[in-house]
């Protein structure tokens, strides 16, 4: 029983489905009082969903949650707050236009409904700032704060509500090294007060430094839990990325070096939020090779792909495709085969038919349009051919793409992008969320492109498939290429370290 008293939070058999994804599959874990529990896993492994369930933002389809030994139903964030749970989301949940202090007290009823007296709140807030050595100016509007300060603010917001269990989702992603140190000091202080912290990350170094135990999640289920003292880097890496990588690499001769298809020189670009997303990228793609891009999601892969297909403006550098400047190439988007990462939001038109989706880049060209009139006979025939060639399972070409399964939706994108035989092919997260059979066929389509002599840039966060498919692998971290390895001799440790931006010091 005394053992039970020490458990701050326990989850049992949590299962959560979303349309299209089994996000959490019978997950069980516990967090003790005064401990830092590390939650380690790739992006999309289901960590964030699990924590959203804990915070009442999602309801689990099945499973139980215990707080301090009592079973609870957390139907809303308000309830979670009441239970002493605080959460700092990866994407901050702050109202930009309100001041720091207003954000802190948001949702806490003041003593008198008609008087919003900020003075006591300010005093208490400043006391918290001092206590944990995390200073934020209370009267500044949030949009003026640096991301680091916004992180402090989120933590202070939770502490202001006296959180006994604090969940930090990828806290250090936005912090400078010095701020990271500050954060760790604060976390140690919290645990000294018998508060518990769940620390979500995919940075091995800091997880090993700050946590007491580590639970690893992959593909929506728990792989295992280890005490941090006994954990080793390679073991964690294998748990996180999957089976020890022993792939059946298909034997294939390296293509003879010919003129490069794609050349990027000193390319830099901004993210949508106006922050530098690509730094000094140099990359050359030759015909008949697959170049893998490994890296944790959000380290510049999206921007890299969009620069190549001309959807994003470069701030400097040049991109040449078959010797032509990309800016001139892009008047015709079918010049580059592009499989975008988000197929439903970018790659497909769900309310249009399969046949229509297959021509969205070519609809104005012969044979689909002649004399400014769409020729449906040609469009239908084209759809028939591609449905057969790419083995798309659909009743006909006249069905809305929305009605197809994920794998077949992706095949529609692939058929459209590859059937014109473009010289460069950019495939971004091309297998995300697909079943094994569909993954296999996507891989085969890309290998066929390689045989044909196309230059394929294969971007994926799944290290395993990058390693099994690529001739060369580059690793991206914070918008930079950390290094390049040969696909035949690559090992998961080297790449894993580069993915985490920890090149030299953490060698197991």
């Amino acid at each position: 029983m005394t053992q039970n008293d020490k458990i701050a939070m326990r989850m049992e058999g949590i299962t959560k489905r979303f349309p299209g994804v089994l996000a959490n599959d019978r997950i069980s874990l516990e967090c003790r009082k005064g401990e830092v529990l590390g939650l380690l896993g790739e992006n999309g492994a289901g960590k964030t969903t699990l924590m959203n369930i804990l915070y009442g933002l999602h309801q689990p389809d099945s499973g139980k949650i215990f707080i301090n030994g009592k079973q609870v139903t957390i139907e809303s964030p308000a309830k979670a707050i009441e239970l002493g749970i605080g959460m700092v989301h990866q994407h901050f949940k702050l109202v930009d236009t309100l001041t720091a202090l207003e954000n802190v007290i948001l949702g806490i009823p003041s003593e008198h409904p008609l008087v919003l007296d900020l003075a006591p709140a300010r005093k208490r807030f400043l006391a918290l700032c001092e206590e944990y050595d995390l200073y934020v100016d209370p009267s500044v509007e949030v949009w003026r704060l640096s991301v680091g300060k916004q992180q402090w603010l989120e933590i202070l917001k939770a502490l202001y509500r006296d959180a006994r269990l604090l969940v930090l989702d990828e806290p250090s992603a936005v912090l400078t090294p010095a701020e990271g140190e500050q954060l760790f000091k604060a976390i140690r202080k919290l645990t000294a007060e018998e508060r518990s912290v769940i620390f979500i990350s995919h940075k091995f170094g800091e997880v090993l430094e700050i946590t007491d135990r580590i639970t690893v999640i992959r593909d929506g289920h728990v792989v295992g839990t280890v005490p941090t003292k006994e954990a080793t880097y390679p073991e964690l890496a294998r748990m996180m990325v999957g089976r020890p990588v022993a792939m059946d690499r298909k034997s294939r001769p390296l293509a003879a070096k010919k003129d490069p298809i794609l050349v990027m020189e000193n390319v830099e670009a901004m993210s949508d939020r106006g922050l530098p997303a690509l730094k000094n990228i140099n990359l050359t793609l030759h015909p008949g090779e697959i170049v893998g891009v490994a890296g944790v999601d959000g380290n510049g892969q999206l921007e890299l792909a969009e620069c190549i297909v001309g959807m994003r403006k470069r701030t400097s550098g040049t991109i040449r495709i078959q010797g032509l400047n990309v800016d001139h190439v892009m008047d015709d988007p079918s010049f580059v085969g592009y499989i975008p990462a988000d197929r439903q939001k970018v790659g497909l038109f769900l309310a249009l038919t399969v046949a229509e989706n297959l021509i969205v880049k070519d609809y104005y060209k012969a044979p689909f349009a002649r004399k400014s009139v769409l020729r449906y006979s040609a469009i239908r025939q084209h759809a028939k051919d591609l449905i057969k060639d790419y083995n798309i399972k659909t009743p006909s070409g006249e069905v809305e793409v929305a009605n197809l399964s994920g794998g077949n939706q992706q095949k529609v994108v692939i058929a459209r992008e590859l059937s014109d035989q473009p010289a460069p092919v950019v495939a971004s997260q091309a297998t995300r969320g697909l079943d094994l059979g569909a993954v296999e066929s996507v891989h085969n389509f890309l290998l066929a492109e390689r045989e044909r002599g196309a230059a394929v840039l294969f971007i994926s966060t799944e290290l395993q498939e990058v390693m099994s498919l690529s001739d060369r692998i580059i690793v991206m971290f914070r918008g930079e290429v950390m290094g390049e390895v040969d696909g035949n001799t690559a090992d998961v440790d080297t790449i894993g370290q580069m993915m985490l931006g920890e090149t030299a010091e953490v060698s197991a």
Partner: protein, 308 residues
């Protein structure tokens, strides 16, 4: 232009501006919560008729105000159900409410034919009539009914509520970032309902102020004559800030008063350009040509609670 004419014009500015301010103070909260209630024109029209009707049957202006506000709350509830819960297009919903209100008031007014063009009990003056003997400010300020004074004070209360109470803070948070507000434990849907209902209440009251302040009767059809849309314009021009919105209402009221005077005098100056003024200024404000108007971040967008 004689001083008398200017005094008369300023007096009318307040009189025409007051109903606009009343309506606008509700709309500010609705739009701050992210919902554009385009139905205020129709609700205002309904309020104008309801005010007259209740006043006619009870002879009591106070009861008329209460009854009108209740009706406004009910209509606001309807708009809130459609736009918040059913997530219908806010503008189309509002336009249909306006259409229904136009038909409804005409229909009911025909039934209430006995009260047609009969003057009913109106809002009394706030100050003794002797005050209006004071030169200049007397006729401008003290010949105004209670409703005008209420409208002049209301923006400050509205500003207080918006910036200095829990509820105001919550409404602002909901309009700018409903997801963050939900994460902080706020009942987003409920707050939106409350804000939209408030806009209904004040739109109805503004309508009543139109009929019960001076005119004292309801004119079938175009009683509100697009004033609801003038309010929508004022809210944009005033940058969603109660006091600035109220000032915009007064400016538009001044244009309205000037325009009416010019028409009455048979002036050759084209008064229609004064009538256009609110809409043209709003277009300029929307285009961001004068300063930077910062709309609530989810202005006019539906909110789906399942979408975290």
């Amino acid at each position: 232009m004689s001083p008398d004419m200017i005094i008369d014009w300023l007096q009318a500015t307040l009189r025409w501006g007051a109903p606009l301010i009343l309506v606008a103070m509700g709309e500010v909260f609705a739009e701050r919560s992210g919902i554009i209630n385009v139905g205020i024109e129709g609700i205002m029209l309904t309020g104008a008729l309801a005010g007259i009707a209740v006043s006619f049957f009870t002879g009591n202006v106070f009861l008329a105000s209460i009854g009108t506000m209740l009706l406004g709350a009910l209509l606001g509830l309807g708009v809130a159900y459609l736009t918040v819960s059913r997530r219908t297009n806010q503008v189309v919903t509002g336009l249909m409410v306006n259409l229904a209100a136009l038909g409804g008031t005409n229909l009911l007014f025909a039934l209430l034919s006995e009260s047609r063009h009969e003057r009913v009990a109106t809002f009394p003056l706030l100050f003794p009539a002797s005050f209006s003997e004071i030169p200049v400010i007397g006729p401008i300020l003290f010949r105004q009914p209670v409703s005008t004074w209420f409208a002049l004070i209301l923006p400050f209360f509205a500003a207080y509520f918006l910036y200095r109470t829990d509820w105001g803070l919550n409404v602002r948070a909901v309009g700018d970032n409903p997801k963050a507000a939900a994460t902080a434990g706020l009942p987003v849907i409920k707050l939106k309902y409350e804000a939209v209902i408030l806009s209904g209440i004040f739109a109805a009251l503004g309508g009543a102020a139109l009929t019960l302040s001076e005119v004292g009767y309801f004119a079938s059809g175009g009683m509100t004559a697009g004033r609801g849309f003038v309010v929508l314009a004022a809210v944009v021009v005033g940058g969603w800030d109660p006091v600035r919105v109220a000032l915009a209402c007064l400016v538009f009221g001044a244009a309205d008063a000037a325009q009416l005077r010019m028409q009455a005098m048979g002036s050759t100056i084209p008064y229609q350009f004064l009538q256009m003024l609110p809409y043209v200024i709003t277009l300029i404000a929307l285009a961001g040509l004068v300063g930077r108007t910062r709309a609530p971040k989810t202005w006019g967008a539906p909110y789906d609670p399942a979408d975290i």
